[in-house]
Symmetry: D2
């Protein structure tokens, strides 16, 4: 890897409180995060891992990780959080070379995670009924430098023929009624292929599980993932007071040709 920032690089600036700002190091003044309008091109040549002054503030200059990309995503609505995204990657066995259909683009957080994980050689097909969601997701994926892995399609994965692909390794659904996409997902998946549904309410998870039980899917399970940060303070270590109480339930299953 290059040790110094080159023109065109995406970098992440982290301040002393751990806050992150993503910026593309290209010439020309533009609005950057909470820093106002500035020209980031003086960062060219800075060593990754060194500190720099940008807009009168001091930052560490970082090469972006997937987590940096997810945490600096431009979003309009609630996104699938990193803690859930990494569980979906594992639960759907996403790795280099895999092909994934995503139903529900959101702001492109999960799209970004999927695209990052299937490289090289893989493919992510993201479907959404809303053009603005697709635009936002595409914007974030391009910003992350992952555009060549992704395609975006305005389509309803719950409609008949909504997923025309076949022999897909995984289908990830972040839509209000995932149970309506199960028949199409089954057709699209290869045998032993993986399905994940991300749903905010317990009722949606329940309805997904009941629908999966009635079809040729196995290994059906729903989990919630809680992440709690620890704080190291003067008198020792304790959990952080701030905690997210909930994001969504994750329901996993796997296509089979026949059930026991």
């Amino acid at each position: 890897m290059d040790l110094k920032v080159a023109s065109g690089d995406r970098v992440v600036l982290m301040d002393s409180d751990g806050r992150k700002i993503a910026v593309v190091v290209a010439p020309g003044a533009r609005r950057v995060g909470g820093l106002g309008v500035l020209d980031p091109s003086p960062l060219v040549g800075a060593a990754f891992g060194s500190t720099a002054t940008v807009g009168n503030r001091r930052f560490t200059v970082l090469r972006p990780s997937l987590l940096d990309l997810l945490e600096t995503l431009e979003r309009r609505a609630q996104i699938i959080l990193p803690k859930d995204a990494c569980h979906i990657l594992l639960g759907c066995d996403i790795s280099a070379g895999k092909t994934v259909v995503e139903g529900g683009a959101g702001s492109g957080a999960m799209t970004t995670a999927l695209a990052w994980a299937v490289r090289p050689g893989g493919r992510v097909i993201t479907c959404d009924v809303r053009p603005d969601s697709l635009r936002q997701a595409r914007h974030n994926v391009e910003r992350a430098g992952l555009a060549e892995v992704c395609s975006f399609r305005e389509a309803d994965v719950t409609a008949p023929g909504g997923i025309p692909e076949r022999d897909i390794d995984a289908v990830v659904l972040d839509i209000p009624e995932p149970w309506r996409a199960l028949d199409g997902a089954w057709e699209a998946l290869r045998p032993c292929g993986h399905l994940a549904c991300y749903t905010p309410t317990a009722n949606q998870a329940e309805q997904s599980v009941r629908a999966l039980r009635g079809r040729r899917f196995i290994g059906v399970r729903t989990v919630e993932v809680l992440e709690r940060e620890m704080a190291v303070v003067e008198k020792g270590i304790r959990p952080s007071f701030e905690m997210l109480g909930h994001s969504g339930y994750l329901t996993f299953a796997r296509k089979v040709l026949e059930t026991l």
Copy 2:
């Protein structure tokens, strides 16, 4: 991907309760999981995703996912669990092509997850002071078909020169006193490279954080990850009664050249 089991394939057999048994489909009678002694070679030609009778019991025949591999690992002690492994993969930005040094082999669960994630093109160097841990880890990695990505070294990563590698993308430590390996890890990592420590007690996490704060690392944070399964029963959905209360704390950090 091949749709049918071939001789030499690793498959996972799942029963109707979701329990999994891993088996290599090769001729010859041998002991297989809880099934007793049998010859699994009749599975050759079975379709992945179909059902089959093995040792008088019915199973679904699955192509193994990483999660299957982790859940059927041969272990002697507590392993890093899938819920934690996927957070470490994300927190250390592990992806295809990366090079990772692992301090503490355990039973090879994290080694397996790392090896799976760095393919193709990556490399995992696993160090341990105990030859039997290295043997167990190597056995599990070979069993998972990931041996070509891994090397195993009997070495103490807390000793001077314990990590001779340089420009490493990530260092993952599962040892009792990870703070003793921090100077060596810093030397081994590339700028912006990632560090993760897995520690059972809050005190170990605290001591890791305090040691990282005094060195050229940023983004220091400790989390615990709780996963709770949901049960869909007659009267609706509720959390499962059974839950693992704790596995370990995950401490993450990133090498920098200078701190703010």
Copy 3:
């Protein structure tokens, strides 16, 4: 309080692992917990807080607390656990002198906690459609020495007129469909009186909340209470591996004469 065990006293024997056995110190051989058949009367005169040998094993002799009583309850089914019982006591503002109607006796765990909390001067009326539940609850309440505070009635609190009492301070429901008892509970409660529903599934909690919202109740809220034990081990402190993932949801509300 008396410092020594007298004949007829209820005592709790705690072994070195913290396990508790409840026993009434009266003459005559009988079956005692896991100790077999023995005559506990030699305990007469032992100092509370001292150690004694009973049935060849060593124990500490304790004066029973409410928690001891709940933990040594004779039960047939899942009981309301201490962690939930104390939240119900607070959420329903149970204190000395209050009158409480309990719908659903279970094994008498909540009855015991309520009876303990309303003394002196209060009253607990426990209703159940099943005579065997009432018998079990009465047995446990008598065993706890709280019988004079409780009355038991074979009645369906969801039926019209199922709760004939008026000006009740609190109604505690541990029945499958608590929403069917809300009109009767409203009639029975004094203005500002408290209601609690204990329900295993999220759906039951949801249906309770929706029914309460449509009636003259305020302060409607559902919580779950998680209790996690910490273990102090050689290398420091960590959460216990064993944890109960779920017991039930607690829904609270308060009767008003009119809503905003």
Copy 4:
């Protein structure tokens, strides 16, 4: 209980969002919660459980419960929360007639809960080294109408003779180094009497446990209590996004005369 508000009564006003304001209904304009300066005496004669207009806003008029008192407490620092207070009440077997020594007054939240629970016939002796904490606690206890049960003493419970009382039923410690008060607490407690320590960090809990293990205490255990609210929304029920990640660890123990 009286059904209507009388002059001098403490009432709680709850708005349609569930927010609570405590007010004493006495003549004369004064500052009331977030309502500005007003004279609450027109509330005299209002029925408890009815609605009323106060300062141009509509409220439900409630008779205060303990939970109302705790939630409307005037505080300067972090208080012991209701979820922890009810566990301490149960864990220390606090009930009518008991005598409790409290070390560390805080803002008087736990004092209020203890005083409420020992009535009638009980007694709470609250000790603190800071006169301003004692003043604040006394103010809140008086406001709750519980002053006759409590006494306040400027004293250091960790100093020799800091707890001169004897035959105490329970000692509740909310001080930074509770282990320094254990010998004094042991002397003050009756045999089988209860001890609780509330500590923010894991290290403080650990040190408390280790000190208790070396003394004549049994049943030593540390727990953390997590309370998560559920939200009933259009699409069903889900945990609330907002959650408090941590308050403190609760360590319980019981005095014995000798250990096994």
